[in-house]
């Protein structure tokens, strides 16, 4: 009997010390789906925005009103803000379903080092949450203006749009863990996706000088030209994800446009199957559209001799023709060779332009720092040098090879009958 009592007590003790605690009913919890951080008007403080789901609005019957609720508070830190939120929201906040961390440009320029610590440490946050920088705007504004029309829940919108990043490669999809490890390792510059609200500053769109070699325009988030009637009303969703925010250490130092982001994606092996619009090599003013993808993984290499880095990239693209505006028979063997050479040259030029721009920012967005580590015996030795500095002065040599594998569903371009020439 005594033995039984002791055994059952031990089992009970084991069960209750090993079990989970803090169980909560679903109706006691407020799920925070989106978190926004901004520099406050008050010195040294943060504007913290929580966007929470309203589960009642998601049930079929009597579903009315907004499915989400955003509240902004000003506090010393995000943790302090969470406690203040407890006084504003009746329910306990649950951060385990927070999908994205949105940061306003002014805070990003000031530096994120201090702010991000808690996101990595606190158990409820996930390393997989995405980090978004708002182009020339506040996170609070972005969250309040971003009203997805197709998705019921805002978290689904963020998940879906960031999952489709590789479709066009016009914006990267960066999670918090990647951002943080790039920030701390020193081998690459942290990057984040750039988002913005359309039509906020329409004249900025033309402010980016169009290079003569470009066949398509470059944009940053919020600058995609839209139909007139759309910008007037608040009806369609005005949020846009386009371009890359480039950081040096923890500070925002520059932005890459959509085309530059795509070049970065080629080097980072993130290109899925986007369309490239390229000038016709034979007929001026006409374009050729190609569907290109990486035939092989891009090889990056970095050699360091006498404090001079030599960066190499080997790119192999293959794809198919989508349209030939001029009607030249690029399907033919000799013309195809010509076209391939032209594509390689154009893309090489674009990549080099992008890299030179980032060299100017002293930010290794592609991550040449990772292959560069092989020049050092220990990680500490690598950490001794200033990789950002080496990168900014490095010689860059990129080789691009292109192969056109298919010509789409047409194998020949016939001239239009009865045309003048």
């Amino acid at each position: 009997m005594l033995r039984l009592a002791i055994v059952s007590l031990m089992i009970l003790a084991a069960v209750f010390t090993a079990g989970c605690f803090g169980g909560q009913e679903t109706d006691d919890i407020a799920y925070v789906l989106v978190m926004g951080l901004d520099k406050s008007k008050q010195e040294g403080k943060l504007d913290v925005t929580y966007q929470m789901a309203i589960p009642r609005a998601l049930t079929g019957e009597g579903a009315s009103g907004e499915p989400a609720l955003s509240i902004t508070l000003t506090a010393e830190s995000t943790s302090e803000a969470r406690d203040l939120f407890n006084s504003v929201v009746a329910r306990t906040l649950n951060l385990s379903h927070t999908k994205v961390l949105i940061i306003g440009e002014s805070l990003a320029r000031q530096g994120l080092g201090e702010v991000l610590g808690v996101f990595m440490r606190f158990r409820e946050f996930r390393g997989g949450m995405k980090i978004i920088i708002v182009n020339d705007d506040t996170a609070q504004n972005f969250i309040s203006k971003n009203k997805p029309k197709m998705e019921l829940v805002v978290s689904r919108y963020y998940e879906t749009i960031l999952l489709s990043a590789d479709q066009s490669s016009y914006f990267p999809s960066v999670n918090l863990h990647d951002f943080y490890s790039r920030m701390k390792s020193g081998s690459a510059a942290p990057i984040a996706v750039l988002a913005g609200i359309s039509g906020k500053d329409s004249e900025q769109a033309s402010s980016i000088p169009k290079k003569p070699s470009d066949s398509v325009d470059d944009y940053l988030a919020g600058q995609i030209p839209r139909g007139e009637e759309e910008t007037d009303k608040e009806k369609p969703n005005l949020a846009e994800f386009l371009g890359t925010a480039v950081f040096r250490e923890d500070k925002l130092v520059g932005k890459l446009t959509n085309q530059e982001t795509r070049m970065m994606a080629i080097l980072r092996n993130n290109l899925q199957n986007p369309f490239f619009t390229i000038d016709d090599p034979l007929v001026a003013g006409k374009h050729i559209v190609l569907n290109l993808r990486l035939g092989r993984n891009t090889k990056l290499d970095a050699d360091i001799h006498n404090d001079q880095a030599k960066l190499k990239g080997e790119i192999f693209l293959e794809g198919e023709i989508s349209s030939i505006g001029s009607g030249v028979s690029y399907e033919r063997e000799d013309y195809r060779k010509l076209l391939e050479e032209h594509i390689s040259q154009t893309i090489k030029q674009d990549i080099l332009t992008m890299l030179h721009k980032t060299q100017g920012m002293r930010a290794d967005v592609v991550g040449f720092g990772y292959p560069a580590r092989k020049n050092f015996r220990t990680y500490n030795e690598f950490m001794q040098i200033d990789w950002a500095d080496l990168y900014s002065k490095a010689d860059i040599d990129v080789t691009v090879k292109t192969r056109i594998r298919r010509t789409g569903l047409m194998w020949k371009t016939s001239p239009i009958n009865g045309s003048d020439n």
Binding site: C20, T26, D27, P55, S96, R126, R156
Partner: protein
């Protein structure tokens, strides 16, 4: 009394109205405590001795008077010089000589001290009748029929046929017992005593089973099982003649273990029908049926069957030892017998495979198991059995392997769902919201928004409702409609949701759980899991997934610690034995080369390595190539 004036009438009327008077009821019947019968045994019963003494004297007196009557007859016969009469007298004398042995005073007093059931059959027919009356409480008991008749012939003999009404076939008694005996005129041979009995049994009765009995114990056994007993004057023995003919159900289609393929015969209540069904599907001399009666006061026939050349003899001996060593009044069901002989009566998991299907029994007998049958139970239990056998169904081997495997996997998933789904649901929504996709978490939260109860209460409420419906559906008389269960469940579920008592998601969880629990092929295993589910629920709701893990661990420990008739319950996984291609999934039939390793059968190999010998031979018509 005062005279009947108006005043007194009024007073009487008021008194009647106002005063409470208990209604006049008949004296109630009260079932009093029985007097301890132990004490009664020690009370000296003065009359008892006298009674036996009187019986002794009575039988001696009867004998004496019969002797005297015979002597007088003999005198007359000798005086008249009638030879035939003398012969008759001589024969009567022989009968009397036979009876004389019994009236020895010592033997008589010994005999009368015995209980009636322990006495031997007397040569005197009236003495036998007296004992039978005592044994069967005649004439209170109306079931016993005693038929006196005379076997004709040159020297007619008194005879008596006894049987139990309702257990016998009247046709058989009339045609093949009474008719040959009463129309018998061929008693030329002058035989008597045991010889006469042997002669009647051997040459006279056209019954399929007839044997001689000398003790009343055998007589009573025969009568109880539907045999008729023949007593003959002057013969110290009786003939027990097989005349069974009681009403019983024949084999029907399986009700509980239905299958699309395979044999469609199920056991019935009568033991002999069941053994016959098994034997008719396994026509081999290797099949042994042993019968042991169980129950001290009311013995019931218990049979166990095995293949002599396959089953482990130690297993057979153990089954026999356990059944033999039960001391109880009466066992009316195999489920009761099971609890008397199983290894762990306190653990809810079944330790024998209970089946109503004949084909299932024969396939397990062929693997080397022992089948246990009990008279009156339309089920057969098989031992020893492993946990995984309960997930097999009869038709797994009747259909092709991919389908059989698929069905088994579905059943296994169903089992896992039935046990842990409500517990896992509670654990996740209480403790591990991050484990769900955001939209699912929000959907659950949204559905629960209007429900005023905690989720655990909701789940327990629905579980109880489901159990109520299930139990009600089982107990409801068939006439009232069996569909009430399912309809009730739907209505209850929908109405509860509309009344905001439970959330739709809880209804779905409980519905899936209930549905899944029906995929467990074994009813008793399913009931065991049903009970365990509440434990899982408690641990899941209080300790989260860790609690569910703890519960799973405890169940695994329990399962691994069990044995079924000497075979570990979790075989062939814990302990590991040679795989038999028939545990969770099944292998091709032609690769089932060995019997289950853990059964340690006499003969391990079922078929040679190449059982399909035709694949090594040239096809028909191609021999010459």
């Amino acid at each position: 009394m005062v005279g009947n004036n108006v005043l007194s009438d009024l007073v009487y009327f008021l008194k009647n109205m106002l005063l409470y008077q208990p209604p006049r009821l008949p004296r109630p019947f009260v079932l009093n405590e029985t007097v301890d019968d132990k004490g009664q045994d020690y009370l000296p019963d003065a009359k008892q001795g006298l009674e036996t003494a009187a019986q002794e004297l009575d039988s001696q007196l009867k004998y004496a008077s019969e002797l005297r009557a015979l002597m007088e007859k003999a005198q007359v016969a000798i005086n008249n010089q009638d030879l035939s009469r003398v012969r008759e007298v001589a024969k009567k004398l022989k009968i009397l000589e036979e009876q004389e042995r019994e009236v020895e005073p010592i033997l008589l007093s010994y005999d009368h001290d015995l209980k009636p059931i322990e006495r031997s059959v007397s040569a005197r027919i009236d003495e036998n009748a007296r004992i039978i009356k005592e044994l069967y409480n005649l004439p209170t008991n109306k079931d016993i029929v005693m038929r006196d008749f005379i076997i004709p012939g040159p020297m007619p003999v008194k005879a008596m046929l006894i049987f139990v009404d309702g257990l016998i076939d009247k046709q058989v008694i009339n045609q093949s017992v009474l008719k040959p005996l009463m129309k018998w005129d061929d008693l030329a041979k002058e035989i008597s005593g045991q010889e006469l009995l042997t002669y009647i049994v051997d040459e006279c009765l056209p019954s399929n089973q007839a044997k001689k009995a000398t003790m009343f114990k055998e007589v009573a056994e025969g009568l109880n099982s539907g045999d008729s007993v023949l007593f003959i004057e002057g013969v110290p023995g009786a003939a027990v003649i097989e005349t069974k003919g009681f009403e019983h159900r024949g084999p029907e289609r399986p009700q509980i273990e239905q299958s699309v393929r395979g044999a469609q015969a199920a056991f019935a209540e009568a033991l002999r029908v069941n053994t016959g069904l098994i034997r008719s599907m396994m026509q081999t001399n290797d099949l042994v049926t042993e019968i042991i009666p169980v129950g001290d006061r009311i013995p019931v026939k218990c049979a166990f069957m095995y293949l002599k050349s396959v089953a482990n003899p130690k297993l057979v001996a153990e089954v026999k030892r356990r059944i033999d060593n039960i001391s109880t009044d009466y066992i009316n069901d195999l489920g009761v017998l099971e609890q008397f002989i199983e290894d762990h009566p306190t653990i809810p998991f079944p330790q024998m495979l209970s089946t109503e299907r004949v084909d299932r029994v024969t396939s397990h007998l062929a693997e080397g198991r022992v089948a246990i049958l009990l008279d009156g139970t339309p089920f057969v239990h098989l031992v020893p059995v492993s946990f995984f056998t309960f997930f097999h169904s009869a038709e797994d081997f009747s259909i092709k392997r991919p389908m059989g495997d698929f069905m088994r996997v579905v059943r296994l998933i169903g089992t896992i769902l039935a046990v842990i789904l409500p517990a896992a649901y509670l654990a996740i929504i209480y403790f591990h919201q991050e484990a769900l996709p955001t939209e699912l978490a929000l959907a659950i939260a949204g559905a629960r928004e209007r429900v005023p109860f905690p989720a655990a209460f909701e789940v327990v409420l629905m579980e109880l409702a489901f159990e109520l419906i299930r139990e009600a559906g089982l107990r409801i008389p068939g006439l009232l409609g069996s569909t009430i269960g399912i309809v009730g469940a739907l209505i209850l579920g929908q109405a509860a949701v509309q009344a905001n008592l439970v959330s739709p998601i809880t209804v779905i969880i409980i519905a899936i759980t209930g549905l899944a629990s029906f995929t467990i092929p074994d009813y008793r295993l399913s009931s065991a899991f049903r009970v365990l589910r509440f434990g899982f629920l408690l641990l899941g709701a209080t300790l989260g997934l860790v609690g569910v893990a703890i519960a799973l661990l405890l169940v695994s420990v329990l399962l691994s610690s069990m044995k079924s008739f000497g075979m570990p319950y979790m075989v062939p996984i814990g302990p590991k034995t040679k795989p038999g291609f028939d545990t969770v999934l099944r292998g091709p039939v032609f690769r089932q080369e060995m019997r289950p390793d853990a059964l340690n059968t006499r003969n391990q190999r079922r078929q040679p390595h190449i059982s399909r010998k035709w694949i090594t031979e040239p096809p028909a018509g191609r021999e010459e190539e």
